[in-house]
């Protein structure tokens, strides 16, 4: 008789662990990786470390059947390459005004 639960992780194309769960709560997809058999009901009881850091970055990779924590340098490099924040409403308004002003000046020159 099985008395515990199976625990699974899901990785993205970069091998980063993006999700973890026990089969008490979710049915695994075909690509999910079984990491623990006969475990506790709750995934976080067997794997208490959060999968993401305070920036929302994935903290771990799954390499050759092992959990490997990403280095701080790697996380910082990834963070530095994130796309810039979208402009605020004020910035967009200012840009629109500037574009309008430039257009009007161009029209005056015609």
């Amino acid at each position: 008789m099985r008395t515990g639960y199976n625990h699974y992780i899901r990785t993205n194309e970069a091998g980063e662990i993006v999700h973890g769960f026990s089969d008490a709560f979710e049915t695994p997809d075909p690509g999910d990786i079984l990491v623990l058999e006969n475990g506790p009901r709750h995934f976080h009881l067997a794997w208490p470390e959060p999968l993401t850091n305070e920036r929302g970055q994935y903290r771990f990779r799954w390499i050759d059947g092992q959990r490997v924590e990403r280095t701080q340098q790697e996380l910082d490099d990834e963070w530095a390459q994130r796309p810039p924040d979208p402009p605020t409403l004020e910035e967009r308004l200012e840009a629109s005004e500037e574009a309008l002003r430039a257009l009007m000046e161009a029209m005056n020159d015609v």
Partner: protein
């Protein structure tokens, strides 16, 4: 007062004092808390997850605190709330019945309740009792799992509500304890089953009268392990036009930091003053939970106002801290 007679000065007071001392000793040393029912929702009043469950797989909770812990051959089993009860102490019973096709030989389902603090019962004698009503040919066997030990009671097959009791001395040093009702489904036709009501576990060897709890007390006890109905109390903000972060204060503190999940097939709806109700079918992520509060992020919205205060509008999230 005229009929009273003077006892007089010759009474032997010492034995009387001894009796009172012994009685006092009994009262002081009785583990009162353990004489109360150790089972939560033994009267099947609370059904936060729903009131009917089809093809219940092993490990699935049904009525609060009660799960199908094992199916021997198949999960062709239905668990539902029933209004068939043994007496005026109950509004509901738990019914387990065959579904889909006739039960295979040897098929059974275990309906069980794990006890949180098994150590409290180590080395103690317990009495496991309840009321059972079986359709003709069905039976229920009470079992106790204590650590690695399995204790089996006498099967009940009565076709009208009958009280069972199973007294067992538990070993010392146990770290897990479950009380189980094994429902025999072998040969059961579709719809045949059993009703279970007023389940109780007390320390000792005497079946105490069943004492229903007030619904408010029973619900709070159940919410230590599972909570729904978190809409309106859960608030947060959109941190982008498509993603929000939501704080969920728990209704009562939970046993452990719970697992937070979205209910299957239900979308999450937030209200954004100005943008109206916004919906996503995505699941929560970046979940952080503690015993008293949780938070989660969810994305997939369109048209939200960034940094706008929002509320969770629907019953779409649950918290599970079950054993």
């Amino acid at each position: 007062m005229a009929n009273l007679q003077t006892i007089g000065p010759y009474i032997e007071s010492q034995p009387l004092n001894d009796n009172f001392a012994a009685l006092n000793d009994d009262i002081v040393n009785v583990p009162h808390a353990l004489y109360r029912n150790a089972i939560i929702n033994g009267n099947f009043d609370v059904w936060q997850r729903g009131t009917s469950f089809d093809n219940v797989s092993a490990g699935t909770y049904t009525a609060d605190r009660w799960k199908v812990s094992f199916n021997n051959v198949s999960n062709n089993v239905k668990v539902l709330r029933s209004t068939t009860v043994p007496n005026a102490n109950s509004r509901y019973s738990l019914r387990v019945e065959q579904m889909g096709s006739t039960g295979a030989s040897g098929d059974y389902s275990d309906i069980s309740q794990p006890i949180e603090d098994a150590a409290l019962f180590s080395g103690k004698k317990v009495v496991f009792s309840g009321w059972v009503k079986c359709d003709a040919g069905r039976s229920v066997t009470p079992l106790i799992f204590a650590g690695g030990n399995v204790y089996v009671g006498t099967p009940i097959s009565a076709t009208s509500f009958t009280q069972f009791s199973f007294v067992q001395q538990l070993p010392a040093g146990i770290s897990s304890l479950s009380f189980i009702l094994r429902v025999n489904r072998g040969g059961a036709a579709v719809g045949e089953g059993v009703n279970i009501a007023q389940v109780q576990v007390n320390v000792g060897d005497v079946v105490l009268p069943f004492q229903p709890r007030h619904l408010a007390e029973e619900l709070a006890l159940c919410q230590r392990y599972y909570q729904r109905g978190l809409q309106y109390r859960s608030v947060g903000t959109f941190y982008t036009a498509s993603a929000a972060s939501i704080i969920v204060p728990h209704i009562v503190p939970m046993r452990i930091a719970p697992t937070l999940e979205k209910l299957p097939g239900i979308s999450i709806i937030l209200d954004d003053v100005g943008a109206g109700s916004l919906t996503t079918s995505n699941s929560p992520f970046n979940t952080i939970t503690s015993e008293s509060a949780s938070r989660f992020d969810v994305d997939g919205f369109t048209g939200a106002n960034t940094y706008r205060f929002v509320r969770l509008l629907n019953d779409s999230i649950y918290l599970d801290a079950e054993l």
